[in-house]
């Protein structure tokens, strides 16, 4: 195994995770845009939005098809990325998508206090709707739902077949204030402190654009 040529991006670390949620079909355009601006790496996953339009709500369609893009950037190009997202993807206008910055461990500066935070809730498949209902009761809306697979039980074998449990991930941006209450509620109602009941984690956010709630657009 030749490890002399092994290079990793952690040797030249990106210090910001730029997460974006856009309409299905625009993920590639957004990834290419961010790569053009200098993003070190970008990946895209299919997702579902949970805020339907009034028309879709009347038709009983609760979810909309979305794509979630994770791009890893250096903070030096953050401003240029946001300008491009506003100009070319129109993320500064409501309804075109959202983007927000999560500092990585290599972020060189002390984190500035913002009103927002991101939450990542991972539960078994089928429990995502229950989580969204709980969040709705706490007036936290606008989560993005992703399908995922668990890794903890991957080595389990049943009748010679490997078992890979399906999971659902809810990814959302919310004001920081109600998040401790959200975690407590998830713990009480879904017993998350018990093994194999799911996890919920929150991250600091330094900047966001295009959020659903009024007054949160832009920096």
């Amino acid at each position: 195994m030749n490890k002399e040529h092994k290079t990793t991006l952690t040797e030249k670390p990106s210090d910001m995770l730029l997460a974006s949620v856009v309409t299905r079909g625009k993920g590639s355009q957004l990834m290419n845009l961010l790569r053009r601006e200098g993003a070190a790496y970008a990946v895209c996953a299919f997702a579902e939005g949970t805020i339907p339009s009034h028309v879709l709500h009347m038709l009983g369609i609760a979810k909309t098809k979305k794509e979630l893009v994770f791009a890893f950037i250096n903070q030096e190009i953050e401003e240029a990325c946001y300008q491009s997202l506003a100009k070319e993807m129109k993320l500064d206008q409501t309804g075109h998508g959202v983007a927000f910055s999560i500092p990585l461990c290599s972020y060189p500066e002390p984190l500035t206090e913002t009103e927002l935070a991101a939450a990542f809730i991972i539960v078994d498949k089928g429990k995502g709707e229950d989580v969204l209902d709980l969040l709705d009761e706490l007036e936290l809306r606008g989560g993005t739902l992703l399908s995922a697979f668990g890794g903890a039980s991957m080595t389990d074998i049943l009748f010679n077949l490997p078992i890979q449990p399906e999971k659902e991930v809810i990814f959302m941006v919310a004001p920081k204030e109600p998040l401790p209450k959200m975690l407590r509620t998830l713990d009480e109602k879904m017993s998350m402190s018990q093994p194999h009941q799911g996890i919920a984690i929150t991250f600091a956010i330094t900047r966001a654009i295009g959020l659903y709630s009024e007054g949160k657009k832009g920096k």
Binding site: P103, F120, G151, M192, F203
Partner: protein, 100 residues
């Protein structure tokens, strides 16, 4: 206790190996997202390779050993990014870390 989330991007199908290596180094689980990656030089017609994005939430003390274990188990370069966790619930059996 300080916690981190590792985001590890590997070619499609390699996630199981990542999870095995991480578990050997002290991780207690992982979540895998199927994604596709953007090429460095976009063209008018392009194929986007599929990737597995493995998310591993771990304590700070295991972070380095997990990263080293994963890098040591692959011949090619592995992209590993680390995100600091602000607050959490459900990461330890019976352990709560909800801040008041």
């Amino acid at each position: 206790m300080e916690k981190r989330m590792l985001m590890i991007s590997v070619p499609l199908g390699k996630a199981e190996r990542v999870v095995q290596l991480a578990n050997q180094a002290g991780a207690s689980g992982a979540t895998i997202l199927h994604t596709r990656e953007a090429l460095a030089e976009p063209k008018s017609f392009q194929l986007e390779p599929q990737r597995d994005l493995v998310l591993i939430v771990t304590n700070l003390e295991f972070q380095k050993s997990i990263e080293e274990s994963i890098r040591g188990g692959f011949e090619q370069a592995i992209k590993i990014y680390c995100v600091p966790i602000f607050d959490s619930v459900g990461l330890e059996h019976g352990g709560k870390t909800i801040s008041e």
